[in-house]
């Protein structure tokens, strides 16, 4: 146990040097040296400041929309085949109607036809059919609902990305979580309220006509209000052009009315549609609707053929800015709710680092003093392993670009406390062996041998805890699991391998003197 071949010594020293190489760039004065790698320990949001937002898509309106579209299709098909039906109605995820039981067979055939009941993407069924006497219920399959959700998620994440990029935050991390969630991490952001405001709107822009008073009661009209003025409008449901036809939107200033406006440009299709509609409806009022809010309602004076227009709605400069960003970034398919937010200001982060490092240094010193007090020269060996351990943990964190959080720093300190455990185990065992065996070499050798299983067993159990934490935990807690886990592995190396090397050299060089432990 105490013999090390040259190759072994060489590899141990190499590992330490690799650790040092990756550790050094984390210290500020080595920061800019070309010699070192670019990799650094990532600071978690709780240490560098920033925001963590978890957004959930409210996909219910989307499913409802799909259901409505499906119902039109189903009804058309039923009429085509002369199937009698009545009491057609919707519930949350299903269509219900009453049918004539004599026609059940034909009905069943129609509803199971691939033309009407198949999921384009997966080829499976789009809805399931449940019969209850003469009542039939069509329920969207789970597969189909998940597909709707997934599509909404894919669209939304792009738009969320666009909106956040427009605000110019540095290195945002935007990823999907599960079926209907988006995780947004914004490091270094001081105040997330602007971004939260931007993410809170779906920003569906539509241009429609205000209904003529004559056809007010018809089905194609809805009543909308204006947030800024409070007045009500009856607006046609028919959409002339929508936000998808926009190619640009910029904030501007209207000298005439002395207020901020948003200028927009339409694409080719939009321009043509808008030109046609405006030509035929000169004199009518237009409603510019953003998420059910009538932003403004200008009158059409002449045909608009340039494909550009202006939205003026008594905006402040900031509001005009926001609206322009929202229009450029595009509309969300469904509303997003922030279901979890964790923000830390940059100065608190800095304070946490300072306090974390202070407690690390003090904890470290206390443990080192205690070890020297207990084991003299062997305490020094154990402290050398401990320092190496710290360097290795930081090195490994840097290599993998792992994230260091405040609980992560606590994890390192805890590792320091527990790392010496292996040393304590060994040295205590040596003391026991020395009672029976006078030869130091043999005593140390048996101690190392006997203690190995104990060290393994006890470290595996802590490692189990760390792994479970890593998979179950989130954010800061995950950071704790990472440092704890890496700490356990590097502890084994530094105490059992490096520590043993130091002890072996020492004993061999001091064969003649009495060793005090």
């Amino acid at each position: 146990m105490l013999y090390f071949s040259r190759l072994k010594v060489f590899s141990i020293i190499s590992v330490i040097f690799i650790g040092i190489y990756f550790f050094l760039p984390n210290l500020t004065f080595f920061n800019n040296s070309k010699f070192f790698s670019e990799k650094r320990v990532n600071l978690g949001l709780d240490l560098q400041g920033g925001s963590y937002l978890l957004l959930e898509i409210d996909s219910n309106p989307l499913i409802e929309q799909r259901l409505q579209a499906k119902s039109l299709e189903v009804r058309r098909e039923l009429r085509k085949n002369n199937i009698q039906y009545k009491n057609f109605s919707f519930s949350k995820d299903s269509l219900v109607f009453i049918f004539d039981e004599k026609q059940k067979e034909t009905l069943d055939k129609i509803l199971n036809d691939r033309l009407i009941n198949s999921n384009i993407k997966t080829g499976g069924k789009e809805f399931e059919i449940i019969y209850e006497n003469n009542i039939i219920k069509l329920i969207f399959t789970k597969e189909n609902v998940n597909l709707i959700k997934k599509n909404a998620l894919d669209q939304s994440i792009e738009i969320v990305r666009n909106r956040i990029d427009e605000l110019g935050t540095k290195e945002p991390n935007i990823v999907t979580r599960g079926l209907d969630r988006i995780l947004v991490e914004l490091p270094g952001l001081k105040d997330p309220s602007a971004i939260k405001k931007l993410l809170g709107k779906t920003a569906k822009l539509t241009l429609r006509f205000v209904a003529n008073s004559s056809d007010e009661n018809s089905l194609g009209v809805e009543t909308l209000s204006s947030k800024s003025s409070g007045s009500q409008y009856s607006v046609e449901k028919r959409i002339i052009i929508s936000g998808e036809n926009l190619i640009d939107a910029q904030p501007g200033f209207d000298q005439l009315n002395n207020s901020s406006v948003v200028n927009f440009k339409l694409d080719n299709i939009g321009s043509r549609k808008f030109a046609l509609a405006s030509k035929e409806n000169v004199g009518r009022y237009l409603a510019i609707v953003l998420d059910k809010d009538v932003v403004s309602s200008p009158v059409i004076r002449e045909a608009i053929v340039t494909g550009s227009g202006q939205i003026s709605g008594n905006f402040t400069t900031q509001e005009a800015n926001e609206l322009a960003i929202l229009l450029r970034a595009g509309a969300l398919p469904a509303p997003l709710n922030i279901i979890e937010e964790r923000s830390v200001g940059p100065d608190l982060g800095k304070e946490s680092i300072e306090k974390g490092i202070l407690s690390l240094i003090i904890g470290f010193l206390l443990v080192m003093i205690y070890m020297i007090y207990n084991y003299r020269i062997f305490g020094v060996f154990s402290n050398v392993s401990l320092l190496t351990n710290l360097v290795l943990i930081s090195g490994v964190l840097s290599i993998f670009g792992a994230t260091l959080t405040l609980p992560g720093i606590a994890g390192i300190i805890l590792t320091v406390g527990m790392a010496v455990d292996s040393n304590v185990l060994i040295y205590e065992r040596v003391k026991e062996e020395l009672k029976k065996e006078k030869n130091y070499l043999i005593a140390f050798d048996t101690a190392y041998k006997k203690v190995l299983t104990t060290i393994l067993d006890s470290n595996v159990t802590t490692l189990i805890a760390a792994i479970v934490l890593y998979y179950m935990g989130s954010g800061p807690v995950k950071g704790f699991a990472i440092t704890l886990g890496i700490g356990i592995l590097s502890t084994f190396f530094t105490t059992y391998v490096l520590g043993r090397l130091l002890v072996a050299k020492y004993i061999k060089n001091n064969k003649e003197t009495t060793i005090v432990i």
């Binding site: 709780d46 978890l54 309220s193 939260k196 405001k197 993410l199 809170g200 709710n337 922030i338 279901i339 979890e340 937010e341 964790r342 923000s343 830390v344 200001g345 100065d347 608190l348 946490s352 306090k355 974390g356 202070l358 407690s359 690390l360 003090i362 904890g363 470290f364 206390l366 205690y370 609980p407 720093i409 606590a410 300190i413 805890l414 320091v416 406390g417 010496v420 455990d421 304590v424 185990l425 003391k431 026991e432 006997k450 104990t454 067993d457 006890s458 470290n459 159990t461 802590t462 189990i464 805890a465 760390a466 479970v468 934490l469 179950m472 935990g473 989130s474 807690v477 704790f480 704890l484």
Partner: protein
């Protein structure tokens, strides 16, 4: 006191200690069910705001001001200094600018500037998920360790160590219930660490018991276990001391955010050390431990 030469008879009072542990266990369970835990927003949902002012202020005025705007239950306490406060608010706000509006209200109502240094808003759906995963993680960790110890030792050891671990977890939760410290995600992390640490301690003692069982089959089992506990005692105590030194350093210098976390760990190390010596080891006397380790006969059905 020289821990090397003296031999303590730990098992002499094994029944008294087991009774003591049972009482602590019962008190903890009682406190948990009667008083409950002071759950943080992670598990309850709601809003936490850590704020800082330029001048010292008092928490009661902040609380009164917050109560004016209908936020449900509001708790405000000093957080580290008389310029820093932590507000825990029951509501989480549907509006995406919920926190911004609270800040505006405070600044206009109390006519001073507030720096919101840390904000955590947790929706009820998330808090339920976090509770579930927190619970799962503790149970899963215990289960995995049970399996590991079973593979490495015999079932008696596995059972003994798990009982000791459950003992530690329950008494730590009981302490949180009685003291009223906030119970949040990082406390769950601390409990898992305690589980790892306590297991570590137990395994060291068990390893020694196993070693003695292999070489010595004349001894009375109680005496044998007592010898094992005694011969590992220096290590048990010294490791506890070094770990505590590190933890106390976090508790004192690590700042307010880590207070609860390090408290849980300190408490857990104390309980874990106690349980390894006074629960995990003596309990083996009651289970019939396999005495003959020379023949590798598998007697499990």
């Amino acid at each position: 006191m020289n821990i090397y030469n003296k031999k303590y008879n730990f098992l002499k009072f094994k029944k008294s200690f087991l009774v003591l542990s049972t009482i602590l266990f019962a008190i903890s369970l009682g406190a948990f069910f009667a008083k409950g835990l002071n759950l943080g927003v992670d598990f309850k949902g709601g809003t936490v705001i850590e704020m800082k002012l330029a001048q010292p202020y008092n928490s009661e005025d902040i609380r009164k001001s917050l109560l004016k705007i209908n936020l449900g239950d509001v708790v405000v306490k000093e957080f580290g200094s008389s310029r820093e406060f932590l507000a825990t608010i029951e509501k989480k706000g549907k509006n995406n600018d919920f926190v911004g509006s609270i800040k505006k209200h405070l600044e206009s109502d109390l006519a001073r500037e507030f720096d919101f240094r840390r904000v955590e808003v947790v929706g009820s759906k998330i808090s339920k998920e976090l509770t579930k995963s927190g619970l799962y993680s503790v149970v899963l960790a215990l289960f995995l360790m049970l399996i590991y110890i079973w593979i490495r030792f015999e079932w008696q050891f596995s059972l003994g160590s798990i009982l000791a671990l459950i003992h530690d977890v329950v008494i730590t939760i009981g302490a949180f219930s009685l003291v009223g410290f906030e119970f949040n995600l990082s406390i769950v992390a601390a409990i898992l660490t305690i589980v790892g640490y306590s297991m570590n301690d137990t395994v060291v003692i068990y390893d020694r018991i196993r070693e003695f069982l292999k070489i010595d089959d004349r001894q009375d089992i109680q005496e044998l276990i007592n010898d094992a506990v005694n011969s590992t005692l220096p290590r048990t105590l010294k490791t506890s001391v070094t770990t505590l030194l590190a933890l106390v350093s976090i508790y004192v210098f690590g700042g307010e955010i880590l207070k609860g976390f390090s408290f849980a760990l300190i408490w857990g190390v104390l309980i874990g050390t106690y349980s390894s010596i006074f629960v995990a080891a003596p309990i083996l006397v009651f289970f019939k431990v396999k005495r003959n380790w020379d023949e590798e006969v598998d007697t499990t059905p």
